[in-house]
């Protein structure tokens, strides 16, 4: 990735946040301090882009609006066993190679539709071995993708936005009703 596209993507990563100016002035780009997993700035940006492809901004906030990439990186760094982290690093390399082979570009340079197509292809590929007679051990690429996806979905569905605006979490229900008609519930 050249410096120009790096900066472009970095701005994309942090959006119009107040951090932008200081980051742009720095040659060390904004990265999240990770303790256990070695993800350089461009790797972090790439993961952030995948998060946004999974949960894009529509008429409701997307992954970046909700700061999900930062949380996903933190979870990858702090809550996974070493062996998973190793596979993520290997899988990340394979992911980059896969994207380059498919499109001739890096993931961050792709249009949103192209990004979706790449992820969907990985997901379909991943679903196939399960149907095979003998379970095939998952490749690092597949493990990488499923780790990013599951962490992104966890981050989204446990975010304040999701739990207050989409599927409301009640800290204090104050009730337990049985024989409750499902038609009376607003959200499932």
């Amino acid at each position: 990735m050249n410096r120009r596209s790096l900066i472009k993507n970095l701005v994309w990563l942090i959006g119009a946040s107040a951090f932008a100016p200081s980051c742009l002035n720095s040659s060390n780009q904004k990265t999240i301090g990770l303790k256990n997993i070695a993800l350089e700035t461009d790797d972090q940006i790439l993961i952030s882009e995948i998060c946004e492809t999974l949960i894009p901004k529509t008429d409701t906030p997307g992954a970046k609006d909700l700061n999900l990439p930062e949380f996903v990186l933190k979870m990858l760094d702090e809550t996974l066993p070493k062996s998973d982290q190793k596979n993520i690093i290997l899988g990340l390399k394979d992911f980059k190679a896969f994207v380059l082979k498919k499109s001739g570009k890096s993931y961050t340079d792709l249009e949103p539709k192209e990004k979706e197509a790449i992820l969907l292809e990985l997901e379909t590929k991943r679903n196939k071995p399960a149907a095979a007679e003998k379970p095939i051990p998952e490749s690092p690429l597949s493990l990488f993708y499923s780790a990013i996806k599951s962490q992104t979905l966890f981050a989204y569905t446990t975010s304040q936005y999701f739990m207050t605006k989409v599927n409301i979490y009640e800290l204090v229900p104050g009730r337990y009703k049985v024989h409750f008609p499902i038609k009376n519930l607003k959200t499932v």
Binding site: N36, T53, L54, I55, P56, T58, T60, F71, K74, M75, E78, T79, L80, P81, E116, L119, L120, E123, L153, F154, A155, Y156, T157, T158, S159, Q160, F162, M163, V166, N167, Y169, L171, V172, P173, G174, R175, Y176, K177, V178, H179, F180, P181, I182, K183, N184, L185, T187, V188
Partner: protein
């Protein structure tokens, strides 16, 4: 609460000392202080004040650093406590970490501990069922352990006494094997739990699925409001400590009550090293404490001592209390101290689905957890190829399926809106284990902890009776599920180590004969009548009910007796 001046011997004298501040220690403290005894409660951990020291209690899931998941470093550093179902980011601060308090597993034993004021009463699963004579008469009828020196009639008024104060919700089910108590309104069974209850009743003459009885204030009485507690708000976040005092804990109930009497002195950070015995006086005179922070050794004195350190640590203290009179441990003339240790077998589960009631679900949360199936094996007479039996949990919930496939806007929509799935049902086994001489605790002769106290060695294992019982549980529940029309039935049997049930009991058992037991029918040490043991260590057998309610009743009864004996000058 009194600020201690440990320099003065006068300030180290009390009427009573209670070792431990949890489920049973809290009751000792309440009863003894209410009856006018100046009481010192010793707690090895830190203080935890009701509400004030529940730092996570009002946090939303997204307010936790990892949204509830414990970091890998914490999980890896704590393989034992990490196996506990409640050890997550919201309550990890109430659990002992593995490295802080090592012990020796002669055989695998997951010892789950809560070293703080309130102990594990903050963390318990709050299930409260009485024993009946089918439980108390078990050892005598079936020829194991020794006969219990008490029967249901001895404990029944004390069950009532503690239930009224603690607040127990339940139905009067009229079952001889699970006596009714002083109940607040029960939490209801949901559609599928109720259907299963009716099905089981129609198919089996002595099997019942009832609303689980639990220590939640479904509708508080004045006595609960007076404690500063209020109605349970169905949060089901109990392990964090409840800001409403909706469930019973020592922190919310017995300890503040004891404090109000003005007779309570609570001393956290106090590791009890041993009980002091005076050969001249022929009785216990106090305890030796190591301050966990300063490592200073201090002696406290009292006329009566209640040992409520939780089963394993109570055994440890007694085993470590050696004197000329008791060279093998306190009150251990019989040689049975530490032996006949037992637990509950929680190693089997069964799950299934049900297609009925497609138009219904539940709303809110049920703190009782669902249904409870009292023991139905070997109750009225011995009928199986194994001894005793099991109780079973039973609960149902309406599942929601989400489509996690794909990416982008459609995925977002799918996450926002699920589809109703089938009802899911599940049960877990709660099996009685047989106390045996070969299941025992002992002191390691060489290794000591950071406070100079010997490490406890735990030698406890399953036996063939447990295997046979587990097989029967899975067969019977499968049959009951099948005939109920449940589908996709999955049985699972894990090999979780004893201890993970967190129902460890015995080692200082009650009995009529001083030659074969440590405690008499009043929980007094046979040979040192001013020492009472009323926590899990006192249990002669373990039956299959969740034990806390029985510890509470036994404690209140023993405290009443201790004070009357003290007044009479007998101890």
């Amino acid at each position: 609460m009194a600020n201690l001046n440990i320099d003065s011997i006068k300030n180290r004298n009390f009427d009573a000392i209670v070792i431990g501040s949890g489920m049973s220690g809290g009751w000792s403290a309440k009863e003894l202080t209410e009856k006018g005894l100046k009481t010192l409660v010793l707690e090895r951990g830190r203080d935890v004040k009701h509400i004030k020291d529940y730092p996570t209690t009002n946090l939303y899931p997204w307010e936790f650093e990892h949204h509830g998941v414990l970091p890998q470093s914490v999980q890896e550093a704590n393989p034992i406590v990490n196996r506990c179902y409640a050890f997550h980011e919201d309550a990890a601060h109430f659990f002992v970490k593995d490295h802080e308090h090592p012990y020796i597993q002669d055989k695998p034993f997951d010892w789950i501990r809560g070293y703080q004021v309130g102990g594990k009463s903050l963390l318990w699963a709050r299930q409260t069922q009485r024993w009946s004579d089918f439980d108390f008469e078990g050892p005598a009828r079936d020829g194991f352990a020794v006969d219990w020196p008490i029967r249901y009639k001895d404990l029944a008024p004390w069950y009532s006494y503690v239930e009224k104060f603690a607040g127990i919700s339940g139905n009067k089910d009229g079952l001889a094997e699970l006596p009714d108590g002083e109940f607040l309104p029960a939490f209801p069974l949901n559609d599928v739990e109720d259907y299963f209850s009716r099905h089981v009743k129609s198919q089996y003459k002595n099997r019942h699925v009832i609303s689980a009885r639990c220590a939640h204030l479904s509708k508080p009485n004045p006595i609960h409001l007076e404690q500063g507690r209020g109605q349970c708000q169905n949060r089901n976040l109990c392990q964090r400590g409840c800001p409403f005092g909706g469930y019973f804990s020592a922190n919310s109930s017995t300890l503040p009550w004891a404090e109000k009497t003005g007779n309570l002195t609570l001393r956290p950070f106090s590791v009890v090293e041993s009980i002091l015995y005076d050969d001249q006086k022929g009785k216990a005179v106090g305890v030796r404490v190591v301050d966990s922070q300063t490592k200073e050794t201090i002696e406290y004195f009292a006329k009566v001592i209640f040992v409520n350190a939780a089963a394993v640590n109570t055994n440890l203290i007694l085993l470590n209390s050696k004197s000329k009179r008791f060279p093998n441990g306190f009150g251990n003339d019989s040689g049975v101290l530490g032996k006949y240790f037992a637990f509950h077998n929680y190693s089997a589960h069964i799950s299934a689905e049900y297609d009925g009631f497609p138009d219904f679900t539940t709303d809110g949360r049920n703190p009782a957890g669902g249904g409870y199936i009292p023991r139905f094996r070997n109750v009225f007479h011995q009928e199986m190829d194994f001894l005793r039996g099991y109780a079973s949990g039973f609960s149902a919930y309406r599942s929601v399926d989400h489509d996690y496939q794909g990416v982008g806007a459609s995925l977002k929509q799918n996450l926002a809106k699920g589809k109703w799935g089938p009802w899911k049902v599940g049960s877990h086994m709660m099996g009685e284990t047989i106390p045996k001489e070969t299941n025992f605790l002992s002191l390691d002769p060489n290794q000591k902890d950071a406070w100079g106290v010997p490490l406890i060695k735990i030698s406890v294992d399953y036996d063939n009776n447990d295997d046979l019982m587990k097989k029967d549980y899975l067969e019977q529940l499968s049959e009951m599920f099948t005939t109920a029309g449940f589908t996709n039935i999955q049985t699972s049997s894990n090999h979780q180590a004893p201890g993970l049930d967190i129902h460890e009991m015995g080692g200082a058992r009650m009995g009529n004969d001083p030659k074969t037991s440590i405690l008499n029918k009043w929980n007094q040490v046979h040979s040192a009548k001013n020492v009472f043991v009323t926590d899990g260590a006192c249990m002669t057998s373990v039956s299959c009910q969740n034990p806390s309610l029985t510890f509470m009743a036994i404690t209140a009864r023993a405290a009443d007796y201790a004070v009357s004996e003290l007044k009479k000058g007998n101890i």
